[in-house]
């Protein structure tokens, strides 16, 4: 019940409201179920005292019509009030972040200083307690953005921009996942949301918007050279280098993220190496070609270079 991706372990305003709604409905539903079971048992039992009352249309009218109408009216009203409470907050202080669904990863666009936005991928960092309005778009098919412990899901639909409001109540890591079937590797399209306190968030944002750390030793310098000469930059950006491709995820600070390949694997040099060489087995049909052209030394250099981009 207490997973990082559980509806029942809420860490956000919306998720908490919905969890309360759920537990109440569960209680009511259980009572109704018990009542039906008891009435059925009475009806089946040969000669119980209540059977006379059960056998007429009165039962149907009172228990089958009047009672449900009353209960449903109450439930409908509650649901509508909850719906109103969960609507997009037009908070002037809100942080606006854009998330674009791609097959099968998430492009995250933060506002930067001076109106210049910058990109990250597969991880969303947000400040605790502040409203975050997430603009949801898609680059290809329909996806759905869902972080169960923060809020319900909203779809990403071609030609539309949907907005949802997130408010995290506590710091910590939540896991999210694409909830609308988007073909191929739909099952392997997850991400993390990290809620930070306000100061940590600001310093992280400042670092994240800056260029990549330059390579420090000969091996990572080789790694950087390989990154450029073997064509990685055609699809990936590393700010501060010649690599400026926009097809795949921005890798400027890839080493600082919690996971690789849309939360499919852990993030360290060995995993990066496996991904480069063997990504089609790790995440079938993903759109990165497998790069089996490197020898072990080259692969280690390239992986260490990328892992070092904190």
């Amino acid at each position: 019940m207490n997973g990082v991706q559980s509806v029942l372990a809420p860490r956000g305003q919306d998720a908490e409201r919905i969890a309360t709604l759920f537990w109440t409905m569960l209680g009511g539903g259980t009572l109704i179920m018990l009542a039906v079971a008891v009435l059925t048992a009475l009806a089946l039992k040969g000669d119980s005292p209540g059977r006379g009352w059960l056998r007429s249309e009165r039962l149907v009218v009172w228990v089958g019509i009047v009672l449900p109408v009353c209960l449903l009216t109450a439930l409908l009203a509650w649901g509508l009030f909850a719906l109103r409470a969960g609507a997009v907050h037009s908070d002037p202080d809100a942080l606006r972040v854009a998330v674009v669904g791609e097959r099968w990863w998430w492009r995250v666009i933060y506002p930067g200083a001076g109106g210049r936005s910058f990109e990250s991928a597969n991880e969303l960092r947000i400040p605790v307690g502040r409203t975050v309005n997430v603009e949801l778009r898609t680059a290809d098919v329909i996806h759905s953005f869902w972080v169960p412990s923060l809020a319900g899901k909203v779809d990403m639909i071609p030609g539309r921009t949907n907005v949802m409001s997130l408010v995290a109540n506590a710091t910590g890591v939540s896991r999210g996942q694409c909830a609308e079937y988007c073909g191929g590797a739909h099952a392997l399209m997850s991400f993390h949301v990290v809620a930070l306190n306000a100061t940590e968030f600001e310093s992280w944002l400042a670092h994240e918007s800056g260029p990549a750390i330059p390579p420090a030793d000969a091996e990572t310098r080789l790694g950087q050279t390989l990154f450029i000469t073997s064509g990685c930059g055609a699809c990936h950006t590393i700010r501060g280098t010649d690599a400026a491709g926009r097809i795949g995820p921005d890798l400027t600070h890839v080493g600082g993220r919690l996971s690789l390949a849309a939360a499919t694997m852990s993030n360290d040099a060995a995993a990066i190496g496996r991904w480069i060489r063997d990504n089609q087995h790790i995440k079938p049909q993903n759109r990165m070609p497998p790069f089996a052209i490197f020898d072990d030394r080259q692969l280690a250099a390239l992986s260490r270079y990328l892992a070092g981009l904190k």
Partner: protein, 101 residues
């Protein structure tokens, strides 16, 4: 044939009300500039709901047949439709118009 239609007049009114209310909301929110559609949508929903309830009341008072089975069925369908129409109508009192969830 008309007899069968009279039998289900209640649900037909519900369906018409549903179509009008949903269509008006979608169309008005899509074409009116933001900020001006709210009042017209609320008014459209309110008028449609009152008109539907009135129609159902009239239909309920004149069942149109003396055959008991048909009269009972017509009446109860009218009552259920009226409840459904009312449920639809109260939404506009609670939920804001034209905004995303």
């Amino acid at each position: 044939m008309p007899l069968l239609i009279r039998l289900v007049l209640g649900p037909i009114v519900w369906a018409a009300h549903f179509a009008v209310v949903y269509g008006a909301h979608t169309a008005l929110c899509a074409i009116r500039p933001p900020g001006t559609a709210e009042a017209s949508v609320a008014m459209a929903v309110g008028i449609a709901t009152l008109a539907a309830l009135l129609t159902l009341l009239l239909a309920g008072m004149t069942p149109g047949t003396a055959v008991r089975f048909r009269r009972d069925v017509t009446l109860l369908l009218t009552v259920l439709s009226a409840i459904a129409v009312a449920w639809l109508g109260i939404t506009v009192l609670i939920v804001p118009v034209c905004t995303s969830p």
